[in-house]
Amino acid sequence: MSDPHLVIDRVSKRFDPRVTLGDRIAARLGARVELRGVQAVRDVSLAIAPGETLGLVGESGCGKSTLGRMAAGIMAPTSGTVRLEGRPVMSPGGTKLTTRVQTVFQDPFASLNPRMSVGEILAEGPVAHGLTTRENARDYVAGWLDRVGLDRSYVGRFPHQFSGGQRQRIAIARALAMQPDVLVCDEPVASLDVSIQAQIINLFLKLRRELGLTYLFISHDLGVVRHISDRVAIMYLGRIVEIGTADALYADPRHPYTQALLASVPRLMTEDAVGAEFAPIAGEIPSPLAPPPGCPFHTRCPAAGPRCVAEMPDLVPTGAQRVACHLYTGGVELAA
């Protein structure tokens, strides 16, 4: 295996509310003022090889988008670093240092400036970074429109003239025009219609073949992630709870959360199996404002024991993957 390409090294992110003196006084006087911070990402380390696709799965509030933004160098971690080929993607002061990691966001209605034409949207970054000149921008942009399956004549049109699927193609072309090595895709098909999702997934597959791109593919959709990913990481309340090859993880999930997540998705059933097709997980995700002590999943876990309340499990090799669960490191009872 080749050397890791994008390395996320012990990254954490904490969001603290801005507490003014007035808030403090109000809190002293008994008013309800939120003074707690949110630990959105807790000590996550990941390495992605060149040309690899790593799927990142989790429910809302698990920190997957925050992790994606830090990986893309558009959000500063509270601690830890993200490096591309050994060089940090962001300066300590919070300035993005590389153009080689680009992002595709979920909502192509929000991510494109409605006042700019497609040509302007696509040319702005490359011209600013010297990837093309203003004179050549038109041809440069046309080339990327070809790549994503859009007509060259669209260059003068504005975002509102396009459907959701076409806008997502524009957003992808904008990212590609920066000639990135790594694309961070944050729920890129979640807001698209079913018949359009397949088109965009196929586009991602084609671009990977043609350009050798590396993807960090963030999604809550287990089916989509399995289809596109080489490896998959499962996040829960800011931590990676399981990571492994897509084949191993889906065939033999080890963490109780992964098992429950896979079992809880309504599957498309065309066979005659009626009955226990899926089994929902009990309870809800605890508030990230007040995460439970120990293993974050213990409040919903059918296998939890006293040790899970007391100790946070580490991510350790278990079977073909790595899992953060006491079940695989001596059991859920407290050591005597």
């Binding site: 196929n202 599957r267 065309t270």
Partner: protein
Amino acid sequence: MTEPLLQVRDLHTHFFTRAGEVKAVNGVSFSVDRGRVLGLVGESGSGKSVTGYSILGLIDPPGRIVSGSIRFEGRELVGLDPDELRALRGRRIAMVFQDATATLNPVLTVGRQMTLAIRAHERASDRAARDLALDVLKKVGIPDPASRLNTYPHELSGGMRQRVAIAVALLHRPALIVADEPTTALDVSVQAQIIFEMRDLVRSLGTAMIWITHDLATVSSLADDVLVMYAGRMVEAGPTRVTLRAPRHPYTAGLLASVPSRNPKGVDLPQIPGSTPSLLRLPPGCPFQPRCPRATPVCREDPPRVVDSGREALCHHPLPPASQAAA
């Protein structure tokens, strides 16, 4: 033969906009029996939600039901007096919307708005209203319902809010619930919980339900029957298993084929080319014809109804029925 609970026949709901006449629902027919779940499937702009709103009489100008019939419990709803419709809505037919945040009143406690909903249709003492509210909150799986009565919607999680909205819909034991993408905005695990609970609820209460969604997987695990819509028209309808196992309409087949989990990992997915047509400029004949791999010139004429084993498809060139497909 007894009349079904709800029978919709050749429904046309159009919107008369400045840009032209939008045929949002264009000749849709179906029926729903007591205790049955109908999955109404389609992409955005297919007319699935407008079909649901039409049943509840919630079509506002510039839209109106142009023609067709909606019979519910033996009464014709199209053209019914607005007051009579209002008496029906919430009591006999209830609706659950996608966005529970917009459904619930943010300045009223859960208990207060449930009491209001109860008193909209019947006289009830504070005590009786509270008991009823507690009862339905318990039914939809809300832990510690008594304390929830005093909370405001913003204090609840998304899943809990949607449960409250479902509880409000259940208050008057309606004969029919129209649920418009009620779990789309929720997390995977919460979505599963709510689908699971709704299925048990309609079974135990004998309530009929129309579940409007774009998600075939949800329909396959919840609905007894399925109706697939495309650009305002029904393209295929029938018992869920039969229809999804061996679809006859190329659109249904295309949607099913493009689902990632039905394909080997990493290969290009069979995709439906193009995008849905504008409802202002519908092609003549079959609306799917410009994107259809089986289309021929005859598809520019209205498609015939093809019926086999309780399922129908509107198509000039339907896929062979299951028995032949297997051979």
